[in-house]
Subunit: 325 residues, 3 copies
């Protein structure tokens, strides 16, 4: 599947959002509009909410073939705040061996009048495969696809950056960590390519380095201090501790923090107004020092808050694309 085909698949003929599978192929003004729209769903913490009725009577199915707590909760709350009915299905991987059985599950839920499938899967291509097979009045939202794509995460990261930097071009963005397996980094990289020219610097342990063909505008930097120098945005990625310990290098958590962790000292090399991001969940004092995670430059909880607004905006957009159908 090449880029333009997937891009076509997710838009209606009149250019509206039908599915959200990837940021690739979306136009700059399209993404800007989505970010603008999500500002409408921002909610000042602690103030009484007003119930949004946009999805009243609609059904959103969370179809998670891979475990997730926070992304699922975010989609669930976004849908409920818009008055949708939500069905959570945690599908055991072992119960499906072949593509057909996924489709039978989809056909069944579609026959129960599911309007939106929110799909997370450990295999590449599943959200698109489902999108190609649903009825015209059903939408698919990618909630995390293997190491390939996590478009709502990409959008919430763009929104967070825009809130602090006012625009999304001319920035220096540094991403540090397990880039080899990171769908978060890929969606952010794709978004930054579309929105700007931006400078994207990538830092990873040698065994977790990314395929640089996936980051045409990025540059792999060996020296972490150099990569942070003068950055506007620094994102650290989650390291699975098991993975570190399993390495022949036998790098401990402490060694990882020393070599690749975002410490206060390292952060001081960035621009004074640099923001610190993390997609969560964090391993404190592994990829990020506790004081940095909780410090004044951290926007980590703001990312979570923006995630809800982005998901509400995306849900609103896909239902809007059906008007007149």
């Amino acid at each position: 599947m090449n880029e333009s085909e997937t891009g076509c698949l997710q838009l209606t003929e009149s250019g509206k959002l039908r599915h959200l599978l990837t940021l690739r192929g979306l136009r700059r003004d399209f993404i800007s509009d989505l970010l603008d729209r999500s500002e409408h769903y921002q909610h000042k913490p602690g103030t009484p909410p007003s119930r949004d009725k946009a999805l009243d009577g609609r059904t959103v199915v969370n179809l998670f073939f891979e475990p997730s707590t926070r992304t699922r909760a975010s989609f669930e709350l976004a849908a409920k705040r818009m008055s949708a009915d939500v069905l959570n299905l945690d599908v055991n991987m072992s119960s499906r061996k072949k593509g057909e059985s996924i489709l039978d599950t989809i056909y069944t839920l579609q026959a129960m009048q599911a309007d939106v499938f929110v799909v997370r899967d450990a295999s590449a291509g599943i959200p698109e495969f489902i999108a190609r097979n649903v009825q015209p009045y059903v939408s698919v939202l990618n909630a995390g696809e293997a190491d390939v794509s996590h478009p709502t995460q990409g959008l919430l990261d763009l929104l967070t950056i825009r809130q602090h930097k006012q625009n999304l071009d001319g920035l220096t963005v540094t991403v540090i960590g397990d880039l080899k397996h990171s769908r978060v980094a890929r969606s952010l990289g794709e978004g930054l390519s579309i929105m700007g020219p931006n400078e994207l610097r990538l830092v990873a342990p040698p065994e977790l380095a990314p395929d640089m063909e996936l980051y045409p505008q990025g540059v792999l930097v060996d020296d972490i201090d150099e990569a942070i120098n003068g950055a506007d945005v620094i994102m650290t990625l989650r390291i699975q501790r098991e993975r570190i310990k399993g390495k022949s290098s036998l790098m401990t958590n402490h060694e990882y923090l020393q070599k690749y962790g975002l410490t206060e000292e390292r952060l001081s090399r960035a621009r004074p107004d640099a923001i610190v991001m993390h997609p969560g969940p964090m391993n404190r004092d592994v990829e990020i020092a506790g004081p940095v995670a909780d410090g004044p430059q951290s926007v980590i909880t703001q990312q979570v808050n923006n995630g809800l607004a982005i998901r509400m905006a995306v849900l609103a957009a896909v239902f809007e694309s059906r008007q007149g159908q």
Copy 2:
């Protein structure tokens, strides 16, 4: 428990539906009314729904002592679309050893003002046992009881047949597969007996043949081709692959398809307007060939769609039976 007693148990004194435990003992016009009523809840896919408020503030408890995805989802969505609060309880079998502890669970949930229990259980008699012990203002819906009964499935199958054949008598209906363990077939057989005279032909591997006393109007047919010949309706039943492989006969999936599967060639012996049904989930190319499952005569997804409408109609009916209490 004989038939008339159970029949009495599930109706109020004025003949309205209080519990739905079995189709046995229900009158023909009673079932016709339920099917008519469910047409009201049919919803054209893709059109914006209107929120039904009939169960607003009511509580429906899904009490599943046996795992289920699709039936539970169907009841959950039916209840939510009528504005009920839904509580899902997947109760581990091991946590109840004796009848008393089920009752304590029921009494507890009843004291939390549960209005309806949707019960699935691997043991015969549990839904009725619960129905005998709840308060007068509480209803029990059987969502699958051992190999005995699955009345909402029976109703959705009758509805699907009626939508294609206009009436429910004078039909030739062929059911193929594991009839020994099939509560779906039993409820369909009971429904067809009430609604018609209909010809019911049953086909099963010898080791999965039914107790024919349970099908007084049915006939066991050895030759599958003969059983399909001239049929108006063909239902294939799910085969659990483990069960096939465990047999001394060592029938493979392919051999099962050859001997008992509904292939295109076999289907061609039925009436040209015959419909193909399956209660799901399907094993493609075991009990049913893929092209038949997806072919023009298949009404399998329509069955799922009808399941939602039937469950909404049944929920509406049991609440209506309380008016004036």
Copy 3:
């Protein structure tokens, strides 16, 4: 943490309920008001409910680090009946090793605009730890904390007693069973101390006797018959059968019933209008004889019903405490 500090933590400056962590430190009239308020949420079983909109658009997160069916269901239904969105998170203990990771979970959910955390945990101090760290507009409700506290259970028990005895002082209350591990008994004891002078008699097998410093107004009674003599209220506590069997004394269920169970004969020593309580789930014919559990003096299902009303009243109270913020 001493008593007055925790007391301060859970009230706003103007003396309203912000968190509910413990009954300790609450004033008598404060508890009376909560009980009065809960009468408003009493609902005659079987009558059509009216949907309460007090929490419309609000989000209640059930954060259960310890498994629970009935308490979670009670909080879930209480919140849903007030139109809140409910998010159920059953958090695997193994996924958090340190205090920090609980806080990151809390910060994340808070950033998704959770308004209330309902917390159950097997470790002492967790609800208070969370309460100390949430934003000013977030409330924490203790739904069971180790062997320390279960304040909504305490309130529902007080309410049940008040409904039968008209007032909450001058009573003789006997609690029998595993007092060593019982947060239910501790919250009841705290509540009875605040509301009255009351006589609190405790009976336990020697190896399950409580630390009497926790019951300053209680008295440990060796002879169960003497403890029941003339009592107004008798509460039996759940015994985990595994625990009994594991003891060197090798007491069987039957022996436990003989020595510490509430039999009809024993109950006859109490006042004729004595009520029998149990926090559930019950082991019939172990700590309580079946005929007593189901007898006319049993108020066990009324406790469950009151639990829902109490939780609704507590939810209403914590949202009311924010007015004008």
